[in-house]
Symmetry: C2
Subunit: 235 residues, 2 copies
DNA sequence: CCTCGTTAACTAACATGTTAGTTATGCGGG
DNA sequence: CCCGCATAACTAACATGTTAGTTAACGAGG
């Protein structure tokens, strides 16, 4: 068992000047973990991180505390802190919690949303189709996220987006390992269209069912990772 | 406007010997805030807290960081940190998020749970009725919570309970200000019975609807607080 | 060669010193 | 009397020194 150490050189140095140092360190470390620059299972050493970012141990320690709350690192008392290994159990828990919240949101939207939302979602879908044709999968991914965010935003629950992000950290990290699949994108658009129609029809049951179907596609695509990339997963 | 300062004397000193100091400080502060020993709007000073608990500033700072993540305190940069005022908006957000999660749990339970759960819930209801007759409202409250926890536990989502607690902090604090209402407890038992029957019948739609009805009673009882105790709420 | 116990090196956790941003104070001018 | 500006006092944020727990290295004994 190689006790791999995270390479602090891969951290992008703190760009924004404003805000608390510990928040900027947190953002930098979180980005490194979610992008897999810090591999699952790698050990984090405060010393090299302090040196790489040019800060003292206090803001780094604070940042690690927050990452622990995000379940992105595991602190072994008095010993070390390491990047959480992937775990299908954790990912499934993420999926359950995310589904619960996002389904509640889309039901609410179907009943309460302003008609503006339909227009915004339609425009979003048109953009998705254009990006599918042009093959720009990065932009497609962002537009996909924007579709979901529009639905969340209309609920007027400010914390909804942050809460979903918070409970989905493991799933979001695993998601990056999925290769863009052209066939999948066309299906995604179709699923989004079902969701939009249900909202337009003010049909919460249909919206709920369409959102469930849509979200459950993701976990299906994530499950094979445990076999194909076993080294990233906890034993 | 009186800039009220939280009285660190009200902190119960760190009882458990084990675990990280910062976690124990966190628990102590959180208990003081949730029990309203630290009033909403009161300013927290690190100095007195360190003195009262006999620790240095580092664990106290760490604890305050976690309380900020819980939205129980608001840190004003370089200036002060104060106990969050109550806010009906925050409480409503808590209620939305909790309902989303708990409804998902009870639907899951109605479909997947082991028959044991029904037995456990029945025993719990018998106990609730006994406690209602004896007038022991504290024990009734705990049994009520146990009823919900049993449903959550059967989902095998370890984080479910913690996530619900995490999103419900403002609501849980406000809840303490509700006086025990004898009539209400009888209704509570009846609502619990509906939930249990729906689970026993493996009827997720009925379970969902029964849980929604049940949870929405709480927010109805909380809403008057904004009028009766305006000093605790943000302007 | 392997096992166990000692110890040395390393790290997180805790304590404390220092800096810099905010807020209150108080004096001079309008 | 009230307003604005300098300044002093206070606090969180940051840096660094210290402690104590864990792990790994090493050597003696089996």
């Amino acid at each position: 068992m190689s006790t791999l150490t995270a390479d602090a050189k891969k951290l992008k140095s703190l760009n924004s000047q404003s805000g608390h140092l510990s928040d900027r360190v947190y953002a930098s470390l979180k980005a490194a973990i979610l992008s897999l620059d810090f591999e699952p299972g790698a050990v984090l050493r405060k010393g090299p991180i302090c040196e790489a970012l040019g800060v003292s141990r206090t803001p780094v320690a604070d940042a690690i505390l927050k990452l622990e709350a995000d379940r992105l690192v595991e602190v072994i008392p008095q010993s070390a802190t390491r990047v959480s290994k992937m775990s299908m159990k954790e990912i499934r828990e993420d999926a359950f919690l995310r589904e619960a919240l996002e389904v509640a949101a889309v039901e609410y939207a179907a009943v309460h949303c302003a008609p503006d939302l339909i227009e915004v979602l339609e425009q979003n879908l048109i953009r998705q189709e254009a990006l599918l044709k042009s093959g720009d999968y990065t932009a497609f991914f962002e537009t996909d996220q924007a579709f979901h965010n529009e639905i969340l935003a209309c609920c007027k629950i400010e914390r909804l987006h942050d809460t979903i992000s918070f409970v989905s950290n493991h799933m979001d990290r695993a998601r990056l390992m999925l290769l863009p699949a052209p066939g999948r994108s066309a299906d995604t658009i179709e699923e989004h269209r079902h969701i939009m129609r249900a909202i337009a029809n003010s049909d919460p049951e249909a919206a709920r069912s369409a959102m469930q179907t849509h979200l459950r596609q993701l976990i299906k695509r994530l499950e094979p990772l445990e076999k194909t990339r076993p080294e990233l997963f906890a034993p």
